[in-house]
Symmetry: C2
Subunit: 223 residues, 2 copies
DNA sequence: ACCTGAACACCGTTCAAGT
DNA sequence: ACCTGAACACCGTTCAAGT
C-alpha cells in the first residue's frame, strides 16, 4: 500500500511557508507551524531546508519568483508600456503578499529568482536601443521600485569581489543579456567585477525623480 | 546613597536595542540581550516598552529619527540641491544601520518620526513653487527612495479611514506644511481623508523614472 | 513606582532511534 | 533515504513578590 501522505519536498515546504505567511502573517511562520501545515513534525523540515533562516530566504526568493512569473507574460510594442505594466504587475504581487517587502529588504543577497526579471528587462531595454551602461542603471532604478532598494545586484557572495565562476557560467547560459551587460559594465569600471557602486545607482535614480519633479513643477507653473 | 545604576527609561531601552542591532544584528535583539546591555533583567524592560514588537517598532522609528536629524541641518538655495543632499544623507544613515531597511519595510504604519522629514520636504518644495498636489506626490516618490516603498503615509491607524483628531491637531501645530498639504489633497480626492491611493503614487514615481530613462536613451542616441 | 525571581508556553535545533 | 520522539538551550511574557 502506497503512503497516504505525499512525500515532503523543498517545494512543498516553501509553499506551506507561503501559505502560513499569507494567512497568519510572517510571525506565524515557525518550523512547527509549517510542519503542521504539512502534517509532519518540525524536524522533518530539516531534511529539505537547512535552517529557519534558509526557509525565510526561500520565502523571499519565492516572492521574487512569483513577481517574475507575473511579469514574464507581459509584452508591448513600446518599451515604456511593457516595463510599466510589468512593474505594476510586480507590485500587485507584492501587495498580495504583504510579508514579502520586509523579508526581501532584510535579505543580504539578491534572491536568485529576481535575476530572471532583470534578464527580461535588460533584453527589452537593449532591443529598445539602450546601451549596456544605461540598461544597468535602469535595472537598479526599476529594481528599487519593485523590491525596495536595499538588495544589491551581482553580489551573490555578499560583497566578496571575486564572483563564483560557476554562477557566472550558469548566468551566461540562461541569461545572455544580463551576462553581456555585466561583462560590459564590469569592463567599464576597470575590473572590479561583481561590485556595483550602489550609492551611484541611488544618485542616478534620485536624479531621475528630482528632474521629473522639477519638470512637472515648471509645466504646472507655465500652464 | 544614590543608586549606582542610571534609572531605566524608554530612551535607554531603545538606545540599547539600536546598539545590539548595530553590533550583533537584528536577530540578536532579544529582550534578555537588550536587558543585559542595560545591566538589568528582561522583565524590567516591560515597564518601558509594552512588548518586543513595540520595541522593534521603536527601533524603526529611531532609525527614522536619525534620518530626520541628519537631513534637518541641510539647506541650499536650489531646492533640487537641498533635497538631493538630504536624501543622500538619509541613505548614509540607512547604510550605517543595515537592520533599518528591513525593519521599516516590515512596519505596517509609518513611523511618527518620519513625518518630520516630510514636513521639511513639503516646506522646501512649497517654497520652491510646488503646489500641494505635486508636493504630495513628491514626498511619496522621495519617501520610497529613502525608506523603501511599503510604508504608507497618513494612515497612522492602519487603513482606518477616520483619522485620530488628536493626531491631526498635533500635526497641524508642529507640521504646518504637512497639515496644509494633507487638507488640500484630501479636499481634492473628495473627503476620503487619510487615504492615499498608493498605487497611483507608485505609478507617478514609476512614470518619473521611465520618462527619465527614455530621455537619457534619446540623449545618448543623438550624441 | 520600579525592579526581579521563578515559572509557563513556545521556539530552533541536535541526536539517536526508528522505518 | 526519509521521518520522528525526546531532549536542550533559548525565547517572550505573566505574575506574585520584593524594594
Amino acid at each position: 500500500m502506497p503512503p497516504v501522505r505525499e512525500a515532503l519536498s523543498r517545494d512543498r515546504v516553501v509553499a506551506a511557508g507561503v501559505a502560513v505567511a499569507d494567512t497568519e502573517g510572517l510571525a506565524a511562520v515557525t518550523m512547527r507551524r509549517v510542519a503542521a501545515e504539512l502534517d509532519c513534525e518540525a524536524m522533518s523540515l530539516y531534511h529539505h531546508v537547512p535552517s529557519k533562516d534558509a526557509l525565510l530566504a526561500a520565502l523571499a526568493d519565492e516572492a521574487a519568483r512569483l513577481v517574475v512569473q507575473e511579469a514574464a507574460a507581459i509584452t508591448a510594442d513600446d518599451w515604456v508600456d511593457a516595463v510599466r505594466r510589468r512593474c505594476l504587475a510586480a507590485r500587485d504581487v507584492m501587495v498580495r503578499h504583504p510579508w514579502a517587502a520586509g523579508l526581501l529588504a532584510a535579505q543580504q543577497q539578491s534572491p536568485p529568482s529576481s535575476w530572471a526579471l532583470y534578464e527580461q528587462l535588460v533584453g527589452t531595454l537593449t532591443e529598445a536601443g539602450f546601451d549596456d551602461d544605461l540598461a544597468h542603471r535602469a535595472i537598479h532604478s526599476l529594481g528599487s521600485m519593485v523590491f525596495g532598494f536595499s538588495t544589491e545586484l551581482f553580489e551573490p557572495d555578499g560583497g566578496d569581489s571575486t564572483p563564483d565562476p560557476e554562477i557566472m557560467a550558469t548566468m551566461a547560459q540562461h541569461m545572455p543579456n544580463l551576462a553581456r551587460m555585466a561583462a560590459s559594465v564590469v569592463h567599464e569600471v576597470d575590473g572590479a567585477l561583481s561590485v556595483c557602486d550602489t550609492r551611484a545607482e541611488f544618485e542616478f535614480t534620485l536624479g531621475l525623480v528630482l528632474d521629473g519633479l522639477e519638470r512637472e513643477r515648471v509645466r504646472r507653473a507655465t500652464a
